[in-house]
């Protein structure tokens, strides 16, 4: 059952000098340096990982880093591999993967640019997607607390019935 996963993990560990792990059947997790990201993505696409499921960003506030995760699925081998890298939180810039996966990568990167502020070099269309006339900071960062913002903008502390929101 896990023969294919073991074989694939051995190839990746020797070729890119990483230490990946197998979590369970059908799941492999690999961490890599951001400079080698385009190289490993091209190699994986030629191996048969032609479906890009999702791209996501996690904000680690204390370590001052953003962690990007790319989830890829192969229709032939039936394995899901997740590639993780880390970039600086104050100046988040990274290469785009639209040259490898086309429009499905471009729309994920456009959403992350609006919500987290990450710049993707090589993506031609990074206009705002969901918000219109938004002047504040990038909404999903950890230092923008939504409950403080909502209590200041929308609710009134002196109103008797709205004291519940201030507990």
């Amino acid at each position: 059952m896990t023969k294919k996963e073991n074989q694939l993990l051995k190839e990746i560990n020797t070729k890119f000098k990483t230490k990946g792990r197998i979590q369970r059947e059908h799941r492999i997790w690999v961490t890599i340096n951001e400079k080698k990201l385009t190289e490993i993505c091209k190699w994986l696409k030629e191996k048969g990982f032609e479906h890009l499921s999702a791209i996501s960003v996690t904000d680690w506030l204390e370590q001052k880093e953003y962690e990007l995760t790319y989830h890829l699925w192969s229709y032939d081998d039936k394995i899901l591999i997740t590639v993780k890298t880390r970039i600086n939180r104050n100046k988040p810039i990274i290469e785009s993967v639209t040259s490898i996966w086309g429009e499905s990568a471009q729309i994920h990167e456009r959403e992350l640019h609006e919500l987290f502020g990450v710049k993707f070099k090589g993506n031609k269309d990074l206009l705002p997607l969901f918000l219109e006339n938004w002047q504040g900071p990038a909404p999903f960062r950890k230092d923008f607390d939504w409950r403080d913002y909502v209590r200041e903008e929308f609710y009134d502390k002196k109103n008797e019935r709205e004291k519940v929101y201030y507990d």
Binding site: T58, H71, L129
Partner: protein, 374 residues
Amino acid sequence: MIEEMEPAPKNSEYDLYFGPAHPGSGNFGVKLKIDGEKVVSARADPGYLHRGFEKLMEYRTPLQNAVLSDRLCVLEPLNWNLIHAEAVDELMDIQVPERAKYIRVIMAELSRIQSHIIWYGVFSKGTGFDTGFKMAFGYRDYILDLFELITGGRVYPAGYICPGGVRRDLPDNAKTKILKVLEKMKPMIKLEELENPALNARAKNIGILKLKDAIRLGVTGPILRASGMKIDVRKEEPYEVYDQLDFEIPTRKEGDAYARYYIGIEEMKQSIKIVKQALEKLPKGEVIETSLKKPKLSSKIPEGEVYVRNEIARGEAGIYMVSNGNNTPYRVKVRGPDFLHMIPVLEHLLKGVQIADVPAVYWSLNICPADMDR
């Protein structure tokens, strides 16, 4: 003497906004550039329903999130409930009892039947066949009555499928009622009675999506099966008890609007088959893991990360959950199928169609704007 009119100047394009207040478009807008009667290019305009779901889940514990998770898409609430419960189960390493797994499969398949009935109804309304619309919403009410009997709510089941199992057991008369309702669904799955020559003429050879384009644009679900590829997450990596049930996967090769509508009807037949098998095989036992019978709101989630995939009615859904030891998750990423179907695929398919065919292409993609904006 009749004067001759001059022909229209070349490149006389104009803008048309097929927007959110139009009764045939839902909560979503598309900006079209039109030359005469043909669409030259389209640009999607999302964001009318954006609540920021992923960060709302970071302020609430997993049991509170189970109630919030069925509002991700109002047209199929129990399927989203199921995928969120699976993600928390895997992260906290909980063993779900067998009876609960069968009940989860029954509720998810009933929700899939109800969602395909809505798809049939709005697709007929978009192409002008009004009888189909009224008939579909009449039959859907039988299934909503079943939901009210088992879970307590017609549309939102208030977190019935929660981490650890399901909240309460099926009532005693549920099995006979479910079988009676499935008998009544027979007119909805007879294709010869549902078709109309006008619907066929408006749907065949319109909005063709080829297989190579579909894989490049990230399409999943019934739309990918209508273009020729036989892929279903329930057969590739089976979850719950799908590996012990027997069902088929319908596919077609043409990829036009008629093929997608045909697959919707065939999938309803397969779902009815699955529910009947699961009702026969239902074992006895507990319905929730014993340590979670009295829920404690402040239990901590162990550190780790998971990625769970499911097949909901519209395609492939995914949840990526990260935890760092507190009692609320640190980051939740929700991947919905409509995010890809509504923006790149719609812009690709609307090039070159006539204005009168725009609703037929639009509604055959089975869209849900709430799932796209989150």
